[in-house]
């Protein structure tokens, strides 16, 4: 750290000897701007610098629904939330402690959504005070004054003016100035920040990197000279190598690491960035990304590749998943290994493309007509996104099943450091079997206990058969007789049971008995565990359990649930409010996982859920837990 600031008294400062240093263990920082002003890049870079300084981080993208929403609009906030701390960070946290805003309107949007901690520090671009449009000036001063009156620490900063000493168009550059200020405020090493700028712009020209470095340095110097405060947040530099990526990048890296060579996809938010990144790197291992003409084609293309011996993946989100359902049923019926990634978004229909929701659990487990058993894995962290795909490919090929990796918009764009994976050749599939098929062996010689059958791959002499989506007998012959049909359905179902026997019972976080067990799945893990931890700190006996395999469910869950007085799921999907006038026990719709647990284990599992479109916050879960504890 090279921060030995001797700041002159500037805006908001009362010190003359140096910045007022406040010791903190964690902070939530937001950088927000109009779309296209680079706040996201600033936030991502800030998160990376924090991580490289040895801090725990979790970043959340703040994305407007449109590519170019009108400038200076309340709904148009684009940027990043970075939660950073001395220890490990597992979620985006509650309200923001410090905000950098490029205009007062996007700031207002965040205030109205209760994303800011009352009284928090706001670094606000003040160019609007002198705007030629009196309406803008009025709006700015009005908002500014209102925020000050409400108790926020608003610091006006001439970012535009300062940047224009370096670049002509400050719209493209203000973000790096802001990054410099943040680096100074959190006392990050300037060299490390310079290094990150070079990395962020590695695909751009040398000249552009230089200009951005100068902007970074200017912001850093300005903050040191004019801001009278800084934060001292201890870091824990581990000897262990770590990487920082978002969930979609982790998924794509998982595809490479799983040994899959073919991805068929169709563009859809918020899944596409996984395919973008895969397209960038896949060719280096001979991998191919096929952008199909539609979701159905992407699914059936992957099925064709898998059938021919190369287990393939198709990556999509809710609406695309719905379209793939018939193809998924075909893969189930034909017992073709297939990996489907569903990065959930708000639904139904087009829903909320950029928003967070966990609404697809039921359709993923039960979707496709008829009885179509498939495996569903829900990653619960960025690291999990990586390993889930590797596990999915292996399970798909071991059991000749469809395996769905059920991520969501929260994991898709969130970044979190995790231990650098050590490549294991066992992650890859063995070479395609082209050996002679023993005479008399049938393509669906289902094992009576496990339902498993050896799959024949085109090219294998003696194995010629015609795969069909029709009901079939062990010889793959079309069979309409009741016995063959029952035998096939039973075999496909047994495979799920065979897999279930190999699953490990998840660990309870907290005591293994108590007042309340909170169960979650997918991206909510960090928030749930943090909330339960806070409640435990207040002396309540609350534990949590998180499911990674949502179909089949691992064994041992009933015994765990029975040791708690109350059980409740926390989910990002719909459940009826029991206090609503029309809702009673005979018609209440529970959240998806709660419904599954209730029906399977005959235990009175309650659910708390929200569909707010943002990652569920630990503070919100904490309140839900406290409410549940109060219930009689």
């Amino acid at each position: 750290m090279s921060t030995t600031a001797s700041a002159e008294s500037g805006a908001g400062s009362t010190s003359t000897t140096g910045p007022r240093l406040t010791r903190i263990t964690e902070h939530v920082v937001e950088i927000i701007s109009d779309s296209g002003e680079g706040a996201q890049r600033c936030g991502q870079s800030f998160g990376a610098i924090a991580a490289r300084s040895g801090h725990g981080i979790w970043t959340v993208e703040i994305i407007p629904a449109e590519i170019q929403p009108p400038s200076r609009s309340v709904a148009g906030a684009s940027g990043n939330r970075v939660r950073l701390g001395s220890g490990r960070i597992t979620n985006g946290g509650d309200a923001a402690d410090l905000v950098v805003a490029f205009n007062e309107q996007v700031l207002l949007g965040r205030v109205r959504m209760n994303e800011l901690r009352p009284g928090c520090t706001i670094l606000l671009e003040n160019m609007w005070r002198d705007h030629r449009d009196p309406g803008v000036v009025a709006s700015y001063t009005e908002t500014h004054d209102a925020l000050v009156n409400a108790g926020y620490q608003v610091i006006e900063i001439p970012m535009e003016r300062e940047c224009r000493t370096i670049v002509r168009d400050a719209r493209r550059g203000k973000n790096m100035f802001a990054l410099g200020m943040l680096a100074a405020i959190y006392r990050f090493d300037l060299d490390l920040a310079r290094d990150q700028v070079a990395l962020t712009f590695r695909k751009k020209t040398r000249q552009l990197i230089e200009v951005n470095t100068r902007l970074l340095e200017a912001g850093y110097a300005w903050a040191q000279a004019n801001l009278g405060f800084a934060y001292d947040m201890p870091a824990t530099l581990t000897a262990e190598d770590q990487i920082v990526v978002n969930g979609n990048t982790a998924l794509a890296l998982g595809v490479v690491a799983s040994g899959m060579e073919i991805c068929a996809m169709y563009p859809i938010t918020p899944a596409t960035s996984a395919s973008h990144y895969l397209s960038e790197i896949f060719a280096k291992v001979g991998g191919m990304v096929h952008q199909a003409e539609d979701e159905i084609a992407a699914c059936t293309f992957a099925i064709g590749a898998s059938y021919a011996g190369k287990c393939a993946v198709t990556i999509t989100s809710g609406p695309g998943y719905s379209l793939k359902q018939e193809g998924i049923g075909l893969a189930v019926m034909g017992e073709i290994p297939l990996v489907v990634v569903n990065v959930q978004r708000g639904g139904p229909s087009t829903g909320q493309p950029t928003k967070v929701e966990q609404g697809d659990l039921m359709t993923t487990i039960f979707g496709s007509h008829g009885d179509a058993p498939k495996v569903v894995i829900a990653p619960s962290s960025i690291e999990d996104c990586f390993y889930s795909v590797i596990a999915a490919r292996r399970i798909a090929e071991t059991f000749n099943m469809v395996v769905v990796v059920l991520s969501d918009a929260s994991l898709a764009t969130a970044q979190q450091p995790f231990p650098r994976p050590r490549f294991d050749p066992a992650w890859l599939a063995p070479p395609i079997d082209q050996s002679q098929v023993p005479e008399g062996l049938a393509p669906y010689a289902w094992d009576a206990t496990t339902g498993l059958a050896r799959r024949f791959v085109p090219g294998q002499p003696g194995g010629m058969y015609t795969l069909t989506g029709l009901a079939h007998d062990p010889e793959a012959g079309i069979a309409y007789d009741p016995d063959s049909n029952a035998q096939g359905i039973q075999a496909r179902s047994l495979k799920l049971a065979a897999l279930q026997k190999s699953l490990i019972t998840p660990t309870v976080v907290g005591e293994d008995s108590g007042e309340l067990l909170v169960i979650g799945w997918g991206s909510t893990k960090g928030a749930i565990e943090e909330a339960a931890e806070r409640v435990r700190a207040e002396g309540r006996r609350v534990s949590s359990l998180h499911l990674r395999f949502v179909n089949p469910l691992p064994g041992g869950l009933k015994e765990i649930m029975q040791r708690f007085e109350k059980v409740m799921t926390v989910e990002g999907n719909w459940s009826d409010d029991p206090d609503d006038a029309l809702i009673d026990e005979s018609n209440r719709r529970y959240s998806a996982l709660a419904t599954l647990l209730r029906s399977r284990y005959l235990i009175d599992v309650d659910s708390w859920s929200e569909v707010g479109g943002s990652p569920i916050k630990p503070g919100t879960v904490e309140r839900a837990i406290l409410n549940k504890l109060e219930q009689r």
Binding site: I243, A283, P417, P421, P458, G459, L467, G477
Partner: protein
């Protein structure tokens, strides 16, 4: 033979390998499986016979050949062929076949689909398959009616077709799949065959098999069950069939010429002329309408000249992890 060598059966000498190749040639019986359950007189039988003959003549190995189909009468064909087969879902034969093709350049890929399967429910895939131009033979068994679901009008049913969904006659003019196909960028091979002229049907599927790209073959065929008299005008009057011939396409045998006197010399490299010929229904053009072997194949464009291996995966992951590294190694990133 090369394929067999790849499987570890190294031949002792060239002569021996040739002999072995001859020995291992699979006869037509070797490609036959179940007895077809198509109606008597159904055009699908003619297509099956032509294909089994083609596989024998070309010396294809059954295990190296895949027939992909969708849903419909024609899509039952893989069940009657002793090769690998994929009888999938309605309309999606083409994307499945593309997946097979991309995963396995060593396999021979054939697609059998129908007028409903290809031109209606699978229309999007048809257009894009033409555009991708991946190497495969695509045969559309076009009987101009939905047969398996018991007589509904298809996109190629002529106007006024009385069917169970058009009891007062269909109102729409029939789609012309040849002109549609010839309108798609990257089209590289288009032919039209008729089930009742087996000699030309065979010549066309053979030319299609040797085409380096997607060969689109529309086969006009009879449905004796639901449309028994539809094609009578052409069957009863060979003069209403126009056989296409060219030195760069098919030649017409003298015996065939005696029956079919209406012939047309057509250069298959001329797409404008091909579109003109394609737009005719009466006379019905039979032969190769268009052929351009120079159109790039998407299955080759997608394929990078990199061998997938544990080592290449390790190298790539290492490079990417370096890029995203924090902590101990971060400074060197």
């Amino acid at each position: 033979m090369i394929e067999r060598m790849a499987n570890g059966h190294a031949p002792a000498s060239a002569a021996e390998s040739l002999l072995r190749l001859y020995d291992e040639r699979v006869e037509i019986e070797g490609f036959q499986k179940a007895v077809p359950r198509w109606c008597a007189g159904c055009g699908d039988n003619a297509v099956l016979a032509a294909l089994q003959r083609l596989l024998r003549d070309e010396g294809l190995r059954p295990e190296k050949t895949v027939f992909v189909s969708g849903i419909g009468c024609s899509s039952r064909l893989p069940h009657y062929m002793n090769t690998y087969g994929f009888h999938g879902i309605h309309g999606r034969a083409l994307p499945v076949a593309e997946g097979v093709r991309l995963a396995r350049p060593d396999l021979h890929v054939f697609v059998n689909t129908g007028d409903g399967d290809c031109f209606s429910i699978g229309a999007a895939h048809w257009i894009h398959a033409i555009r991708y131009n991946m190497k495969m033979v695509v045969m559309v068994h076009d009987n101009q009616i939905y047969g398996l679901t018991k007589k509904q009008a298809s996109p190629t049913s002529p106007a006024n077709t009385v069917s169970n969904t058009t009891p007062r006659g269909s109102r729409l003019e029939a789609m012309n799949p040849l002109t549609v196909t010839l309108g798609v960028q990257n089209v590289s091979f288009v032919a039209q065959a008729a089930d009742w002229i087996p000699e030309v049907l065979y010549d066309i599927v053979q030319a299609a098999f040797h085409h380096d790209g997607l060969a689109f073959v529309r086969i006009i065929q009879r449905c004796p069950e639901w449309m028994p008299s539809l094609l009578d005008p052409w069957l009863h009057d060979p003069g209403r069939v126009q056989l296409l011939h060219h030195e760069n396409a098919l030649s017409i045998s003298p015996s065939l010429k005696m029956l079919y006197r209406n012939t047309l010399e057509h250069d298959p490299s001329d797409i404008h002329r091909a579109r003109e010929v394609a737009s005719s229904i009466d006379p019905l053009p039979i032969g190769i309408l268009y052929h351009d072997p120079s159109v790039p194949r998407h299955d080759q464009i997608l394929r990078e000249n990199v061998v997938h291996s544990a080592e290449s995966v390790r190298r790539l992951l290492d490079a990417e992890f370096d890029k995203f590294a924090v902590g101990a190694r971060a400074g060197s990133a």
